[in-house]
């Protein structure tokens, strides 16, 4: 029994079958994502508490963001999810060029997203909207300090999201040569599929961030 699969390619020594290895990998990935949800939930709770406390300041702060840029970036990110699906499909069918192309596409769209983000951060810096000692508020003075709190959350949340993308793109750079050399086969491509789950998760976080940060300012005014 022990020797029967000793030379099975891609099967780690401590697993009895590909089936067991695959189930372990996916369960592990889902648990990791549960952990990620708890991590981001800290930020979302923070957002919730302060938005309930200062609804007007959050609308004012949101209007300082350009929702068109946010929307364009949302589309870019969804495209990157599509190319990720292409890579996973390639892995399932054992087509290494498809994996490589999918990953390259994901890297490209991810790169565009981050580039736009850097541009946005830069313009916030110029307008003194980065929280901290350089923050200056020239709008309605009665909400200035709460607007700064909004921007703390804007940078905290989008920054944490961007950090997850940077980590994901670093992993993809490692995956590219491996994919090219044909490491992943139809029997064993758990890593690609698991990574796909991670990338989609990061996308979904943005799907929540976009309305919470960019779109709330579009509503008329506030009763407060």
């Amino acid at each position: 029994m022990a020797d029967a699969h000793a030379h099975a390619p891609g099967l780690a020594h401590h697993f009895e079958s590909y089936e067991q290895q695959k189930e372990s990998a996916f369960l592990g990935m889902w648990i990791f994502l549960a952990q990620e949800i708890m991590f981001f939930s800290g930020l979302f709770t923070c957002y919730l508490v302060y938005r309930v406390l200062y609804p007007h300041a959050f609308l004012v702060g949101s209007r300082e963001l350009d929702w068109r840029i946010g929307a364009a970036n949302t589309v870019v990110l969804l495209l990157s999810s599509f190319t990720m699906v292409v890579a996973v499909l390639g892995a399932k069918q054992g087509r290494r060029k498809m994996i490589v192309l999918g990953l390259l596409g994901t890297l490209l769209f991810g790169g565009i997203f981050l580039g736009v983000k850097v541009f946005e951060y830069g313009s916030k810096w110029e307008h003194h909207l980065v929280p901290g000692p350089y923050f200056e508020w020239h709008g309605d003075p009665s909400v200035g300090r709460e607007v700064e709190l909004f921007f703390s959350l804007y940078f905290g949340m989008t920054g944490m999201h961007a950090l997850h993308m940077v980590i994901g793109m670093g992993i993809m750079l490692v995956m590219l040569p491996l994919a090219w050399r044909g490491k992943w086969t139809p029997q064993n491509h758990n890593f690609v599929e698991g990574f796909g789950l991670y990338w989609h998760f990061v996308d979904i976080v943005w799907i929540f961030l976009f309305p919470f940060l960019y779109l709330i300012g579009l509503s008329g005014g506030s009763s407060h």
């Binding site: 067991q20 372990s24 592990g28 952990q35 991590f39 930020l43 923070c46 901290g132 703390s152 944490m160």
Partner: protein, 556 residues
């Protein structure tokens, strides 16, 4: 079942020719190992070191408190002493203790697997621990932190003149070691069980680790993000909790305790599992109400997430919230009490063998009960307002953390030491150390209940002279306790060279881990076992071997 190891000749109990310890001796083979058993040993060595560091701080605290004046250290230094004591003991000793050492070593053995599901992640967890500990040591060597282990804002973010950022980063990184360990255990327990090892055949040690892992995976990330926010606020002045921006410092307390109350169960649940194993093995009886004990662990894990507000009774929390948290805190005593009563019922009419692990287990049951009952007192709103932030609280959580978690860890270490090393230790010295720990512990911490009830606040080093007698008693107890902790370090190391061979199953216990050789082979079992028996079937099991009681040999 295995042959009767106790009656066997020394030849028969010799360790196997090849086992996980002698496959390779090089430093590389340790630092790059993915063997769950070796990773357990790496953790054992490192947490012992940080336990000693935390112990040095405790020693200095107790010495300072000998006199009512602040004559040994300044107030500022004293703040750093109790903070670093808490940080070291909680994050770098108690949280990893049983899961990372005994859990790592035993979970695959107990469920009949070759390793944990993700061996490389397991090694990464140790490196995360070491990096986190390194960052914390860096801050410690530069003077440490003075905020208390709770890092309450805005003191920690805006005012404290100490190394908050480095320590927060250290604990953040260390959190990943916890998350990786928990994730690994969950997947291992789900997917790596041997054929026939159904959920209700799992040892209770596994159940308690399953519950612990859930908390590790779902609670630790909340601490992680809290520390990130604290770090950003302190280093880049990006306010999240800053009242100057309309931020709410109490929100930080909610976040912190959302992790740190469940963290209490990260520390105590594994001990509850250890005690179940020991009680069954030395009462020679199946655990009474196995399913209740197993599910009580899950109940504790779930309820543990719903009681954090009892740390905010005096932090401007609404009276209704306080009431709800108080009731929920009472509720969590139910699963804990189920465990204690079931151990009692297991002991009842058992044929009890007073071996060293059993000494620790019995001590645990008593101390855990006192710690738990005083926890109920603290969960009661009226009493908590009176004793809030006094030594009553200090005594209560030391009964749980030291009397409970640490006694469980030591009991487990004594119970599985023969499996880990293949050697037996001295019966005399180990009995003596268990006794010293029990007596020293009570002498240290029982007076603190009285001190607190009389009004001695925690975190002060200058106090009214009438409290001195109780403080001197406490310090005297602490020195006895210290001897009790040092002894095992001596006789455990001694046993590695001079101890008798243990054989596969010195206690005549029935878990799968006792079917492996001592020390176990690299891949644990000759072949993957098939489980066709219920847990804790002690009827007809071989008798437990007595520990060697030759004082002369060990003294010479």
């Amino acid at each position: 079942m295995q042959a009767t190891a106790s009656a066997a000749t020394p030849e028969a109990v010799r360790p196997p020719r090849h086992h996980y310890l002698n496959v390779d001796y090089g430093l590389r083979s340790w630092l790059l190992t993915t063997d769950h058993k070796r990773i357990g040993i790496l953790y054992l060595l490192s947490i012992t070191f940080f336990f000693a560091v935390g112990g040095i701080y405790a020693t200095l605290i107790r010495l300072e408190l000998l006199t009512p004046q602040g004559d040994l250290v300044s107030s500022d230094t004293y703040n750093r002493l109790f903070t670093m004591h808490g940080v070291m003991m909680i994050f770098f000793f108690l949280v990893p203790s049983i899961p990372a050492v005994l859990g790592n070593f035993l979970i695959p053995l107990m469920i009949g697997a070759k390793d944990v599901a993700f061996p490389k992640l397991n090694l990464a967890s140790w490196y995360m621990y070491m990096i986190g500990a390194g960052l914390t040591m860096y801050s410690l060597l530069h003077g440490g932190v003075d905020t208390g282990w709770t890092f309450y804002t805005p003191f920690s973010s805006s005012y404290s003149n100490s190394f908050v950022a480095a320590t927060a980063l250290g604990i953040f990184v260390n959190g990943f070691s916890s998350i990786f360990t928990g994730l690994n255990f969950l997947v291992t327990i789900h997917r790596m069980r041997a054929p026939g090892m159904t959920w209700f055949r799992l040892p209770l040690f596994i159940w308690s680790h399953y519950a612990t892992s859930l908390i590790m995976v779902l609670g630790t990330p909340v601490l992680a993000i809290t520390l990130v926010l604290l770090f950003l606020e302190r280093v880049f002045q990006i306010g999240f909790f800053d009242p100057a921006l309309g931020g709410d410092p109490v929100l930080f307390q909610h976040f912190f305790w959302f992790y740190s109350h469940p963290a209490v169960y990260i520390m105590i649940l594994p001990s509850l599992g250890v005690i179940s194993e020991i009680v069954a093995a030395f009462a020679r009886k199946p655990i009474f109400g196995y399913k209740f004990v197993a599910l009580a662990s899950m109940g504790i894990a779930i309820l543990g997430f719903l009681v954090w507000g009892h740390h905010l009774f005096l932090s401007s929390q609404s009276a209704y919230a306080a009431l709800v948290f108080s009731v929920l805190t009472m509720l969590i005593a139910v699963p804990s009490a189920i465990k204690v009563f079931n151990w009692m019922a297991t002991l009842y009419r058992g044929s009890i063998e007073y071996s060293t692990p059993m000494f620790y287990a019995l001590g645990f049951i008593g101390l855990f009960t006192i710690g738990g009952l005083t926890g109920l007192m603290l969960g009661t709103l009226g009493i908590d307002v009176h004793v809030h932030d006094t030594y009553f609280v200090v005594a209560h959580f030391h009964y749980i953390m030291v009397g409970g978690a640490l006694m469980g860890y030591l009991g487990g270490l004594h119970y599985w030491w023969p499996k880990i090393t293949g050697r037996l230790y001295s019966g005399f010295w180990s009995h003596l150390s268990a006794l010293l720990v029990f007596l020293g512990f009570n002498l240290t911490f029982f007076p603190q209940f009285i001190l607190g009830y009389l009004g001695m606040p925690r975190r002060y080093h200058v106090y009214p002279p009438e409290f001195q007698v109780l403080h001197v008693l406490s310090t005297a107890g602490a020195s006895i306790l210290a001897v009790g902790y040092l002894l095992p370090m001596v006789y455990f190391i001694w046993s590695l060279k001079y101890g008798d061979y243990a054989g596969r199953n010195p206690w005549g216990a029935v878990g799968l881990e006792w079917q492996a050789t001592s020390p176990p082979a690299l891949h644990n079992f000759e072949e993957i076992p098939v489980v066709d028996f219920e847990p804790y079937q002690y009827k007809g099991a071989p008798v437990a071997q007595r520990l060697p009681y030759r004082i002369a040999k060990y003294g010479a």
